[in-house]
């Protein structure tokens, strides 16, 4: 019944506003690209609880893909599966096919640490190590075997510049990483992730604890590094998704009345302008217009 009403409303809208032909000059639409991740019928379990059901999507190179959806819909779970961070949770397992550049992420001979060196992650709450700023950034390269001080200096400077933090901290690299403000600490964590030169950067609500100015800086950062990395960001803030992402995946919660279980599903996935401008699924429409939480 509700869906019919939604359909009717969409039709009415379309009658009032004539659709203009989209000119060919729209520069940002990329309909094809190299897929970096290919997930096919992926389901994620915690023990016997099925957290996410049957997700299929592809993440493309040098794009920013946003995962949006209500609480408990599994968007963070799917994100963490992409770099095997979910392994840290006892009882977590996956079913289905998760491929990174054609190779299965969960094959028996795959080393999670190798995966995580290629696919980095920035967390919701900034988590700088209780070490100096320099040691924070140099941590990753040191793991990879870089010991030469000159090389490390160069890496630290480059990473901090990429994260737009160099000017603010260049005179206090040996001060504690914990002494930075929220926005600076988050940029420090981003610089730390970039220092190992990953292929992909995953971000789990990186700006949710930050004020608008700090958020804006990080969004600009994302635009700048997009050409060298592939970014997947989970966000609660729909305006952030529209400002920043090329593609958006909308997840929602599927409630099973009989067994009273909830599981996350992927509802719709497409170009951001289409998801927010002309959503195909009524659930997407309800979520992005704020009618449903």
């Amino acid at each position: 019944m509700e869906e019919q009403q939604d359909q009717l409303k969409l039709q009415q809208d379309q009658e009032v506003l004539p659709k203009l032909a989209v000119p060919d000059t729209a520069p940002r639409d990329k309909f094809t690209g190299t897929p970096v991740f290919d997930v096919t019928n992926g389901s994620i379990y915690y023990g016997s609880f099925r957290a996410v059901t049957d997700v299929s999507l592809s993440i493309y190179e040098n794009e920013i893909t946003a995962f949006i959806g209500p609480s408990g819909c599994g968007k963070t779970t799917v994100l963490r599966t992409l770099n095997r961070m979910n392994d840290l949770i006892v009882g977590a397992r996956v079913e289905g096919d998760f491929r990174y550049r054609g190779m299965s992420l969960y094959a028996g001979n795959v080393s999670p640490t190798a995966v995580r060196r290629r696919i980095g992650m920035v967390f919701q709450k900034a988590n700088p190590f209780p070490k100096s700023i320099y040691d924070n950034i140099a941590y990753g390269p040191r793991i990879n075997g870089t010991r030469n001080k000159g090389k490390l200096d160069e890496i630290v400077e480059r990473s901090l510049k990429q994260a737009a933090l160099w000017d603010e901290v260049k005179d206090r690299l040996n001060k504690s990483g914990l002494g930075l403000s929220g926005g600076q600490a988050q940029r420090l964590c981003i610089a730390r992730t970039l220092a190992v030169e990953p292929d992909v950067v995953l971000m789990d609500e990186p700006c949710s604890a930050l004020d608008p100015i700090a958020t804006g800086r990080i969004e600009d950062l994302m635009h700048e590094i997009k050409s060298r990395y592939t970014i997947v960001i989970v966000t609660h803030n729909m305006q952030q998704a529209t400002r920043v992402s090329d593609r958006t995946a909308f997840y929602s919660v599927l409630r099973d009345e009989k067994s009273d279980t909830r599981t996350g599903v992927l509802v719709e996935y497409g170009q951001t302008a289409q998801i927010f401008g002309d959503p195909q699924d009524s659930r997407t429409q309800a979520y992005v217009t704020g009618r449903v939480g």
């Binding site: 989209v22 969004e219 600009d220 401008g277």
Partner: protein, 217 residues
């Protein structure tokens, strides 16, 4: 330190540039059209029709760009006022250029000599006034000048008077019937052009935002 929302800024500047382009086309072509009408010169029409093609491509392009910015950037304050104002004036600009082309195309239908001296005089003055008003309108947009609306409304009254005199002159029946009918249309075109100029200036009042209160003392 990089300014935030640089891409958004660039997009807004691109839209402004295109709007000014549209404005320029109307403002430039208007005197030429008046000239073509009065001298019966057909060559101008060719150039104007080509311009019309450009505008027909430009106008939906601007609208699409604005739609996209409103969708993706969630603008507020002056950004929102700017984008909404662009959406409102672009149709007016497009119709204005249509009118300009119409005026020039009348040169096909009448010969310059057919016009009575009085008609010619009024038309010249109407043409000049319309050009003047358009120049003022462009300036008011460019400078976000909210006071221009009032000035333009007064000049619109002037245009209405000229229109009335032209109609009276045409009603006197001094010229051939076909010519009279054409000129009635032309009178209407100029009057509509003036109206569009005023409308745009009124939009600028919204665009410029509320009058800033002076602090007390």
């Amino acid at each position: 330190m990089v300014e935030p929302r640089q891409e958004f800024e660039r997009d807004l500047e691109a839209i402004e540039a295109k709007v000014i382009e549209l404005f320029a086309m109307v403002a430039e072509d208007l005197p030429g059209a008046t000239q073509a009408l009065l001298t019966g010169n057909n060559d101008v029409l060719q150039a104007l029709t080509e311009r019309e093609q450009l505008i027909n491509a430009l106008y939906p392009e601007i609208e699409e760009l604005v739609n996209r910015e409103i969708l993706l950037q969630a603008p507020v304050a002056s950004d929102l006022r700017f984008l909404l104002s662009v959406l409102r004036i672009v149709p007016e600009l497009e119709r204005s250029h249509d009118l300009v082309v119409q005026i020039a195309s009348r040169a096909n239908h009448i010969l310059g000599e057919d016009l009575s001296p009085r008609t010619r005089g009024i038309v010249e003055r109407m043409g000049a006034l319309a050009s003047e008003m358009w120049r003022q309108s462009v300036d008011s947009w460019y400078q976000r000048d909210r006071s221009a609306a009032l000035a333009l409304e007064e000049r619109d009254d002037e245009m209405d008077e000229l229109h009335a005199s032209l109609v009276a002159e045409l009603a006197s029946g001094r010229m051939a019937l076909p010519v009279t009918m054409e000129m009635t249309l032309v009178a209407r075109f100029y009057e509509r052009l003036a109206d569009h100029a005023v409308n745009i200036a009124r939009r600028v009042v919204y665009l410029a935002g509320p009058v800033k209160e002076k602090p007390a003392g």
